[in-house]
Amino acid sequence: MLPRLIKRQSPSKAMVYLSPILALLLTLLASIVLFLIMGVSPSGALHAFFVEPISSIYGLTELMVKATPLILIGVALSLGFRAGVWNIGAEGQLILGGLFGGATALFFYEKTGFYIIPLILIMGALGGIIWAGIVAFLKTRFNANEILTSLMLSYVAALLLNLLIHGPLKDPDGFNFPESRLFSDSALLPILYDGTRLHLGAVIALFFVGIGWILLSRTLLGYQIKVMGDAPAAGEHAGFSHSKIIWTTLLISGGAAGLAGAIEVSGPIGQLLPNISPGYGFAAIIVAYVGRLHPLGVLFAALLLALSYLGGETAQMKLNLPVAVTGVFQGLLLFFLLACDVLIQYKIRTSKKSESTIAPAVKSSIKSTSEVK
């Protein structure tokens, strides 16, 4: 008898939290299979991937460095996804943020002052906000699908960065290499722990988790976001403005991604390069889902995904594995998570008892027919 899915009376709260853990275990299993296919010892590979990178203090700080942009963007995307606003162009907003922040840093290259770093961060957020604002404008004014426009703008952003680095932002003494000058010290984020790259951005990210949590769980805006995601018509019934939510969530995620971009260029990178992100904007989508669209969950998920980046680098150095393994791992994780999430709303029955299998049928047919009108 084939197992059947039975709709639960009400969603399982336990599965909401168990599903990501189950998904992680399945992803690890699948990775073992993948390593076997690639002819690598699974134990060695897993060690290189998940243990080695965090077995030193330096490794742990690196984990936080990688997690910082993922946390910032992941928290912000969670808000949008909850409202049913699909900003998947955070990568482009991050690039714009890096560009704006980086340009600010280069503009104040000769100067010193406490104001430079805040200005870089503000300009970075502004860059992301502008980029996401275009998406919001096109969505609310012209009804243009935000998935497609935000993504198209990501490609445009990457080309724009590339163009400017080949042009006005190029290092004048850089032998024509497509990269900017190294930022001056007053444009670099303060390091929190000497001898590592752990910078102020990590604190900002943790602070952001707290803000996001309060916003989502205790404010009217957070409530409106949840209502719009669950039942837009109910939101209108209550007098909430759909466009306001679209604008707000997009500007928050644009701002957060832009901030992350500015933090990246003025933190670990320290200059503008054609490539300032290994796909943080996309990985943050996975982070948001694995983190259950909840700021605290996002924190843990971001650490996990950060580990996958670090692990990919370690595995490349130690075992000569291609970096692309990281992408496969991230994709698999999201697949398994989406599959495991079925257990939140459904339970699995293997017995052949027909009455229990028909019950949800009736429920769903009642629901569907009442929607026919």
Partner: protein, 521 residues
Amino acid sequence: MAQPSEYLLELTGMRKAFPGVLATDNVDLKIRPGEVHALLGENGAGKSTLVKMIYGILKPDAGEIKFDGKAVNIKAPAHARELGIAMVFQHFSLFDSLTVVENISLGMDHASSMRELAEQITEVSQRYGLPLDPNRHVYTLSVGERQRIEIIRCLLQEPKLLIMDEPTSVLTPQEVKKLFVTLRRLGEEGLAILYISHKLDEIKALCHDATILRLGKKVATVSVDKESTGSLAAMMMGEEMQAFKHPKKPTLGDIRLKAKNLNVVAADPLGISLKDINLLVHSGEVVGIAGVAGNGQDELLTALNGERLSESGSVIIEGEHIGHLGPNKRRLMGMASVPEKRLGHGAMPDMSLVDNAFLTSYERLHFISHGLIDYGKTEDYANKVIKDFSVKTPNADVPAASLSGGNLQKFIMGREFDQNPNILIVAQPTWGVDAGAAQTIREAIRKMASKGAAVLVISQDLDELMEISDRMGAICGGVLSKFYPISEITIEKMGLLMAGVSLDDMHDDVINGSEVNHNAS
């Protein structure tokens, strides 16, 4: 060998249980060829479950089905159709973006070419007085025309038994009359019809025998001629039906709600635009608006409650022009509304009852302090609503979607009523709600009016409106009729209003001469 039987369909001992509910228990039913047999019962009596078993949608737990004298195990709707059983559902299975002929073709088990099928449709539609253009797209058709698609689809299969599930709930009285002519004609041609309804006068007008169900059990099978509507009702409800009480003339207060030449252009391409709506609701009265589904009811509700904005002078609350103000401003002025669609419009399916209680009450009841939501106060309010309206739920933390239709409706009503609004607008208060909850809701609505609120009820259920309203009108194609005191209203007059006919243009004999469904002979 099975003996030839005088019955076309024989059910014995039909039983079907769902977790927690015995939907039908040991039900018997027999239908002869050419007979129009009524299946009578309140909402939740088990009528739908029974016919779903006949049509192969549900598998019975116990019981035997004999069709044409042979015991059959009906596995699927296709199998039922093969045997000669056809069914017209209460909610149609139609594809809006496809044409009539494409829709019918999809429902046929043995497809012929589109051209041939279109010819057959035209032929059947003429023979039985069911006018229908095969090449129209469904989204352009009225509800009555859509029902014709379903009926013609069934007739093209040349069935021996036609099952009709509450077919008149979407029709005007005049359309009902036409439908009955068709059904009688079909019966004369030898087709057996199983007619499901809870409307007694229809059954008196149309059916030969009636099988009455109550709480999943068969009460009796009776010959309709030998029963009165009162005795049928008694069997259906389990007690003598309460005598129809006309609300005594209300003590009218000030005008609380007024619509003046209200025009709203439909936002949706398939929606209805409101044209020159004029409307008055006084403190202390219940005003009813009847109408067939899809004639602008949703649009009217949303224009009055502020979800759709209009010119400032076109909606007036307590003398103030508020057409340009959104729902929250209107709510603060004392207006409350309950939309027709519960899940998704009146409530958020996946959010808790606490969150749902917050939705429309947070400003009036001050659930936000220092910029943060006070969930303690909100939860107390949710629990108060649950208690006041005896909503059956384990607690206030369950998602709205886990409640039954009736319980959710009581919760939504309670959320609005417990805010003591001055103006209350309710759409379809008891649609799909079981009899007990429906009674509670109707009583609560009357009580709101007697406490001085101005109440507007928009409903497709004429009987309900006639029970609770003081004045009535109807909406048709986005145009609102005049309103008449309940004492001047008859079913026939309402039928004309629902069809968009003005009573001023009619002579009395035309109005009273129609015999829509008072045909007791």
